[in-house]
């Protein structure tokens, strides 16, 4: 029988849980039924509040009106003069802004992969605070299941303090799933990403205001190592590269 605390947590996490276990637990007492009703009402109010926001008129059509240059990439250079822009002048400002933002990103990044790596790290900064130790065998289970590779059982790898191993969608645009790890470095946490594809053709050093890193093109995939400014990125990169069985 589900205990009150567990029921309370599950009801709050998803009051619309329709599993038999949850429904039977809810039916076991009037108090539980009341809690579910109360939480479903909260959800209804919540949904109404969130959905009070609607997309601006014209946005859908803007999204549907793909510029001719993007429909046919070989004519992309001519997009600025395309009739799309003349026919949709009222939306042009918004699109120009979006493209401008993209252009700024592209100018400021030596390689698109650099921006993707840093975005991924900053969107998951909580990983850096996880200090739960993981065994190499657990890491290799994830590595094998996600990308069909693993780390060798070497002294270097056994001595590595690994705290996080998760799926990695840094290369989401290409639908490529990798593995995201965090290990303890000399200065602080070091992020490691292992991808089964090779979006870069040669090793690239990357950096921003906080982190330094290295994206390494390898025979079977890509290795990314990113750490604090004072961290020895090259040491990690060299050691890991020597210990991956692609």
């Amino acid at each position: 029988m589900m205990k009150d605390q567990q029921f309370n947590e599950r009801a709050h996490a998803n009051p619309h849980d329709d599993s038999t276990e949850f429904l039977e637990a809810a039916a076991s007492s009037p108090e539980r039924q009341h809690l579910v009703v109360e939480l479903k009402q909260l959800d209804s109010d919540l949904r109404a509040s969130l959905e009070a926001v609607s997309a601006p008129e014209g946005l859908k059509q803007t999204l549907l009106d793909i510029p001719e240059g993007m429909l046919h990439p070989d004519t992309e250079v001519a997009a600025a003069n395309d009739s799309f822009w003349r026919r949709n002048a009222q939306y042009a400002a918004g699109l120009v802004l979006a493209i401008g933002v993209l252009a700024i990103f592209m100018q400021s990044e030596a390689n698109p992969m650099e921006g993707m790596v840093f975005s991924h790290i900053y969107s998951e900064l909580e990983f850096l605070n996880d200090d739960t130790p993981l065994a190499l065998a657990e890491v290799n289970t994830v590595m094998n299941s996600r990308i069909g590779s693993e780390f060798m059982q070497s002294p270097d790898m056994e001595n590595l303090n690994i705290n996080v191993t998760e799926d990695c969608w840094v290369d989401i645009e290409n639908g490529v799933q990798g593995v995201h790890m965090v290990v303890q470095g000399d200065v602080g946490p070091v992020t490691i990403m292992v991808l089964p594809n090779t979006p870069v053709e040669q090793d690239i050093e990357i950096s921003d205001s906080r982190f330094d890193g290295m994206i390494s093109a390898m025979p079977g995939g890509t290795l990314v190592v990113v750490g604090e400014k004072e961290e020895s990125i090259e040491r990690f990169s060299t050691m890991l590269a020597a210990n991956i069985s692609w």
């Binding site: 709050h12 926001v53 997309a55 859908k60 999204l63 933002v101 639908g175 995201h180």
Partner: protein, 179 residues
Amino acid sequence: MASKDNDNKPVIDGTGTKKERYEKLVNAFYNDIFRYAYWLSKSRQVAEDLTQETFLRAWRALDSLQNPGAAKAWLFTILRRENARLYEKKRPVTDDIDDYSVPDTDKREPDQILEREMLQKAITELESEYRDPLLLQVIGGFSGEEIAQMLDLNNNTVMTRLFRARNKLKNKLESDDED
């Protein structure tokens, strides 16, 4: 990633031209994407830009989408990345949500409008670690497992955060009622 979109039938199934598949995605998801962008960014202008950027990237990468049934989760993930990228470069101005009132065409009673604004204020004041999974669950209709994959968290962590998010909202609304 999720095996299907939230309802039983995927919006796209890999058939049709690229433009046809793209149009189905826009028609099905543009409003949810805009809403999610709005509550992430707290600005209509930024939300509009993020929505355009998300679909621009989706168009470019549509042929590489490996599981068309997970298109909605894919779009939401692109949006999250774009939002993170934007904040990494420059924190946008988010002034147009400061009064916690959003356009509402309903003819509601004043107390209902007040309640809605209190709830909207409470949502915006939630810490992002609690707000993000809640938005994905309520706006996106994603399951705990889908949210876990999108946020790179384990399922238990997501369920704990959803529990705390609703708990915090309830407590906040109750304390506002007492004031």
